[in-house]
């Protein structure tokens, strides 16, 4: 009796193992050896290039993850509509989506799956730095190119990796531009900013930006009056704001997610700080919900902005995105669209789906003109894989929208009072 039972269990576990041992899906047949031309003369059955899309599609950051994916999807649709990758015989791109759930260990699992099981040529995306950091390391060990779209932690491109590239700015650049903006207030409106307070949420996002902020404040000779951290799930931030106010800063730099951004925007008005500029680092204030929930209370709020539909060359592509998804591009979706453009160009130049060839092609990217929708002259990667020309705007909420007011070259409107 016992024997039978155990043997049945044995059978079950064996079959479970077999389920897992599915054949990994091949990329394009055959790999590495045939020249591109030969593939065009193959069967009319779909010839596809598999790319991995890596985002938090569920979990706490799912909303942004999905938004990121949409940006990338639009770029891929454009590529396929234009006839695919010409140098590979018009091969179309097939996206394999991976859900990191916003967790590092899940992200690593997914990278494994994308490379080993799904055989993708390259991985695109990444949102949370805490997930992208180990995920890119996993990709590096598997010698698979990973173009990071939106993660900003500095270390991602500071590890000497060969296969990691990043289109987004580093956290450092966000901090740099926040401080440069504060410095420029003297010329813009005659406000000499000497004392600055930092107020940010306590996960790695807030912390890595704060590191940069402190560095640049010191560089510019501005005094850090206080650094206040709070748990991002806080129900109420009036005390934190009072703490900041007590030190009498000329300006406050913040790093937020959505709900704390709302609490801060409300709280600073109630707390009597309406005339103090609050500058976010492209955090929660970039969401439509921010201005919706706050109405007039959001007026005058400032933030780093990665993308603006008001910039001359971006109107067309923004309209297209709006038609497809009924919202404007956000910094995140724009960054991912940009990544799509990068991989398009790289694949065309590589003419191969060999991961190393693609990697080299990405490294040699020099994009200009229509294909660059972010504020920079030319998109290229330095030897660390970072896009060094990445530039940012500072936007201010005016009439319910974030309008670029800095740098002067990209400003669309002038600076309004910091709060109503």
């Amino acid at each position: 009796m016992k024997r039978v039972f155990w043997n049945v269990l044995l059978l079950i576990s064996l079959s479970l193992s077999l389920v897992g041992c599915g054949q990994p899906t091949p990329a394009v047949q055959p790999e590495e050896t045939s020249p591109p031309v030969a593939e065009a003369t193959e069967e009319p059955t779909v010839n596809t290039i598999r790319l991995g899309g890596f985002f938090p599609l569920t979990g706490g950051t799912a909303k942004v993850g999905i938004e990121n994916r949409q940006g990338l999807q639009m770029a891929i649709d454009e590529i396929n509509a234009a006839g695919g990758i010409k140098s590979l015989g018009g091969a179309k791109i097939e996206m394999v989506w991976a859900d990191s759930q916003g967790k590092p260990e899940v992200g690593i699992s997914e990278v494994e799956r994308l490379v080993q099981q799904e055989n993708v040529v390259a991985i695109l995306g990444g949102y949370e730095s805490s997930v992208s950091t180990p995920a890119t390391q996993a990709a590096e060990r598997l010698k698979t190119p990973f173009i990071v779209a939106a993660s900003i932690a500095d270390e991602i491109t500071e590890r000497g990796f060969k296969y990691t590239f990043r289109v987004a700015s580093k956290a450092d650049f966000y901090a740099r531009d926040q401080v440069l903006f504060l410095k420029s207030l003297k010329d813009l409106i005659g406000l000499d900013v000497k004392r600055v307070a930092l107020l940010h949420e306590d996960t790695d996002y807030g912390e890595s930006t704060a590191v940069g902020q402190k560095k640049y404040l010191e560089q510019e000779g501005m005094e850090l009056t206080i650094e206040v951290k709070y748990p991002s799930s806080a129900a109420d931030l009036t005390t934190e704001i009072a703490k900041v106010k007590a030190t009498n800063p000329d300006a406050v730099l913040v790093v937020t997610y959505l709900n704390d951004a709302i609490l801060l925007a409300q709280g600073r008005l109630a707390g009597g700080m309406k005339d103090t500029p609050f500058v976010d680092a492209a955090g929660g204030s970039l969401y439509a919900e921010f201005t919706q929930a706050l109405g007039d209370s959001a007026e005058g709020w400032l933030s780093i902005v990665e993308f603006s539909k008001y910039a001359p060359k971006t109107k067309a592509v923004n309209d297209k995105y709006f038609d497809a998804y009924s919202v404007d591009f956000s910094g995140n979706s724009a960054l991912n669209y940009q990544v799509g453009m990068v991989i398009w160009d790289a694949l065309e130049r590589a003419g191969s789906i060999d991961r190393d060839a693609v990697r080299d092609a990405i490294a040699q990217t020099r994009l200009t003109g229509d294909k660059v929708i972010l504020p920079m002259e030319e998109l290229f990667f330095d030897e660390t894989g970072q896009n060094p020309q990445s530039g940012l705007y500072i936007g201010q909420v005016q009439n319910g929208e974030l309008i670029p007011v800095w740098p002067p070259a990209g400003a669309v409107a002038s600076l309004q009072p910091f709060g109503k």
Binding site: T58, K63, V228, P231, D236, T238, T239, A246, L258, A270
Partner: protein, 292 residues
């Protein structure tokens, strides 16, 4: 460490206000715990469910947030009863750990389920009450929070009167003191438990209607408040009604004053430390006369 009087005043006020709300959330849990000796790990998630109900009433139905009380309270009461009947009643006699595991599983189902249904977005409601404030000196008092504080107090008083003055209430108290004796006295303990569980959950409905004016709803809302309510209930003593109220204030003040004085987000560590100390040295709660 910062010791500015303005900030401390703000901390004091915020602490008292939020403490009242914490108290309301905890009163339900202590009732359930005291009567049935069940630690409902899904208590926070019940609150989350209530918040979603209220959110949709206000956002889609255009209801005034405070009017939703009419609906939220009975609905959550029913929800609590349903859950109790289907999952908790069967295991009342089982070891405590099984009950804990079950309610833990329940909390996961509820929060993950909410995520599947409504996505993880934090949802805000824009009401005319959101931005009303007034000042006490340099400190800010947000009117929705004040209303919530008052509402919590009222609910607590009502609940207290119910427990003291009505037959059903007395039955609940009897059952919590001595289950067997209560049965011998002719009390339908089954029904009493049901009522207690329903009432404990209904408090969350009240809290949700009060809080939607200044807090957001998301699938993870339950986790945070759930933890806090456990701490408060232990602090005040399991089953101790007044204890929950006092405990709520203590924790509210700890969080707010901690945020006012300590650097970083260490106020949370302070809360946990107090919790652990109480568990070690007076697990019956600060307010109980020693009776282990």
């Amino acid at each position: 460490m910062v010791f500015s009087p303005d900030v401390i005043l703000q901390g004091l006020i915020s602490g008292i206000l939020i403490g009242g709300i914490f108290a309301l959330l905890s009163v339900g849990l202590t009732l359930i715990w005291g009567v049935m000796r069940i630690i409902n790990f899904a208590h926070g998630e019940f609150f989350m469910v209530a918040m979603y109900i209220v959110y949709f009433l206000v956002e889609k139905g255009g209801w005034d947030p405070y009017l939703t009380l009419i609906v939220s309270v009975p609905l959550i009461f029913l929800f609590g009863v349903l859950v109790y009947r289907s999952t908790i009643q069967p295991i009342l006699a089982d070891p405590a750990m099984n009950q804990i595991m079950l309610t833990l599983g329940l909390s996961i189902v509820l929060s993950a389920g909410a995520q599947v249904l409504f996505s993880a977005d934090p949802l805000f409601v824009v009401t005319k009450y959101n931005r009303l404030v007034f000042n006490i000196g340099p400190a800010v008092v947000r009117i929705p929070q004040l209303i919530a504080f008052v509402g919590s107090g009222l609910t607590a008083v009502l609940l207290y009167l119910f427990l003291q003055k009505t037959d059903a209430g007395r039955a609940i108290r009897a059952a919590s003191q001595d289950r067997t004796a209560a049965t011998l006295m002719g009390i339908d303990v089954e029904r009493t438990f049901l009522l207690a569980f329903g009432l404990g959950s209904a408090c969350l409905g009240v809290a949700a209607s009060l809080m939607i004016s200044f807090y957001y709803v998301s699938p993870t809302v339950g986790a945070f408040f759930g933890q806090i309510t456990f701490i408060i209930v232990v602090l005040g003593g399991m089953g101790n009604f007044i204890g929950a109220l006092v405990g709520g204030q203590i924790i509210g003040l700890t969080e707010a004053l901690g945020a006012a004085i300590l650097p970083g987000s260490l106020s949370r560590v302070l809360t946990f430390t107090i919790f652990i100390l109480v568990l070690l040295f007076k697990p019956q709660g600060l307010l109980s006369r020693t009776r282990k």
